[in-house]
Amino acid sequence: MSEFKYIGTRPVRHDGVDKVTGRAAYGADLNLPGMLHGAVLRSPHAHARIVSIDTSAAEAMAGVKAVITGRDIPPNSAKLVLGGEAALDLHDMGDNLLAHDKALYHGHPVAAVAATSADLAREAALKINVVYDTLPPVMTVDDAMAPGAPRLHDRFAQNVAHRMELKRGDVEKGFAAADVVVEREFRTPTVHQGYIEPHACVARYGQDGRATVWCSTQGPFVVREACAAILGMDAAHIKVIPSEIGGGFGGKIVVYLEPLAILLSRRTNRPVKIVMTRDEVFRASGPTSGSKVRAKFGAKRDGTLVAASVSLWYEAGAYRGSPAGAGAMCCLSPYTLPNFFIEAHDVVVNKPKVAAYRAPGSPMAMFATESALDEVARELDMDPIELRLKNAVAEGDPAPYGPKYGPIGLKQVLEAARAHPHWKAPLEAHQGRGVACGFWFNAGMNSSATITLNSDGSAAVVTGNPDIGGTRVAQALMVSEELGIPVERVRPSVADTDTAGHTDVTGGSRVCYATGNAVIQAARNVRSQLRARAAKIWNVDVEQVGWDAGRAIPLNGDAGKTALTVNELAAQMPQTGGPIIGHAAVSMPMAGPGFAAHICDLEVDMETGCSRVVRYTAVQDVGKAVHPSYVEGQMQGGVAQGIGWALNEEYVFNANGVMENAGFLDYRMPVASDLPMIDTVLIEVANPLHPYGVRGVGEVPIVPPLAAVANAMRAATGVRFTELPLSPPRVLQGLTERQSTVDSPQLTVSR
């Protein structure tokens, strides 16, 4: 029997009806009286010096109210502020909003216009005369690191912005002791998160010097702090109201439009709305890094891994700060390797600055290591799950990045995958099966929550996390569990930055864990107050009042007193001391990592190279599933994105560094009809840092699909593809070159 009454159930989400009926208001839905519309002029060149900008023709147009350029962004020092996978550079953030001296990617904002209509604003933007001195674009890590490569930033000596390394033991001795050594080089393209809702905001700057910003964001407090820092404003003078959010996956943590809208509103004394087109989202918001990763494993004949080396080069886009470091920390995390060396390089190129994307850095790194490991299993003629199990980390083993793991569920996950009927199911002709593991840290950080008890015994819970994956209902379930109030009588809300306590982003798989913990602590605070109210009614000390199943109960066997329900206590609030409001604010350590193992069956048309996933099973240690449907949804969503990354998605650039497929027609993301039902298996190894054992679930499931799909392709075709996506032309070419690709003697050594 479960220890929980509400946790683990599957109630309808509170925001569900609004979302399926179209009543929910997203970023672009807001309109205000007197509102102007903004448009952004973007660089037509991937790399160019800005010689001059003449805005006079645009400013002379009737209906144009303001034009701003990089000169209007206050100059910031290269001060670093913490955020995401890397420190954020205020100078770079400002320069990315509106270029100052150089355009660093095709689509880089150069100027912005506010006008009485969106069409007029766009027309006026085109009247701005910018003189460029074009420079050769640097589009890949190889180009960027080549001798004599054009430098993107004059203030840095080279395009490699940062290097980090991790090591353990003696890697050369390890390889020397190995019976089998496998080495491969892998590449992944620039890909986008592909959130359905584009970036959108409205800003209103008042004559009192205070701004209100309505926007679609994963982090209203991040927007407020970024706008304040970039524009030199007091954070208290900016109020950010988050809309409903149509996906973010890490890409809606960065500000692209909000500071521009504030500046234009300040200039015009009118509200200003800016909405990106899909084309702009692709060209000028942050995708994730294209990558090159060289992975090498050494193993004994019995499958024991004895050495590994991994070198990673990640594109940062136009400014430093790729997730290469996170990739380095993830890539060998599932395995007990006595000897390894990992190095990661952060490389600037003439592409949009990368943003976080679901488990930032891990999918590309583990595409390489999990694909290479599949080759090790082949060399050893060993079941790939058995190979992983033999080397799997457990509690007490050290992570590659240093600390020892607490309770983790990798072995349970792999055992569940091995026992799943999928693993032994027969395959048909031209089908192949692949397996791969995934790892992500799961963040903690800062969260707040407020619970108000209503006089009828219902309750409201308020937090500052925009609800992306069903976090409202998860928080309501936690209130229900602590107070015994049915979940339908709990109203969860996402509040603005003036109303909610500071709460870090909806991201890092942290909301159910960290904000959930704040909700639980706030509910326990309410419970303490309820016990005190019962004590007052009974005229006893609070120590003589207990709590059981949603009721205050008399302790010490006082038969003369009847238990008081929440409803009864709530009805007496005015007589017992006034409103009952519970607050909590927490700063949480990282949750403890999540591991996953995925099994993929792929069918390949050998004549066309076209492939489709015919069966997929995702197994994951989720700690504790608060609302299992939304945990399963996170897993299925991550798999869908990972399959798209593996099979179809890529930014296609021409020789001038211009993206040629900036729309969903040509940037092919999987839709429901492309995919089979994705089976999920939830393993629950409790995280001791959370009262219920929650450990975060949203990011791990995007990590294994890249290698699981590629390993299935290897099994189906006999070809090891090392570059994504596995699109029909690439697969067809690989099939044609099959013989020379399969047994590349210089890459695999068997002793």
Binding site: L80, L82, G83, G84, E85, A86, A87, R163, M164, E165, L166, K167, Q193, G248, F249, G250, G251, I253, G325, A326, M329, A355, A356, Y357, R358, A359, P360, Y401, G402, P403, K404, Y405, G406, W440, F441, N442, A443, G444, M445, N446, D504, V505, G507, G508, S509, R510, S587, P589, M590, L689, E699
Partner: protein
Amino acid sequence: MATVHVPSGWTQYTGGVDAIVIDAPRVDALLRSLTERFPALASQLEQVAVAIDGQVFHHARYEPLRPESDVHLLPPVAGG
């Protein structure tokens, strides 16, 4: 005495030292001691996450240390 493990990429700032035993009651004192001994480490420590006995903290400055604490310094990671 807590044992602090220095990431291999930072041993260039510590003259090759990769583990140091430091007597410090809290992380702030530990980081101060590290900086005094290895001034070149200072800039790296401005943006560092700290793992104390397996728990990773983004904001660790005032976290207490046990006499036998195992401390690792690592880059801060959040997620998407």
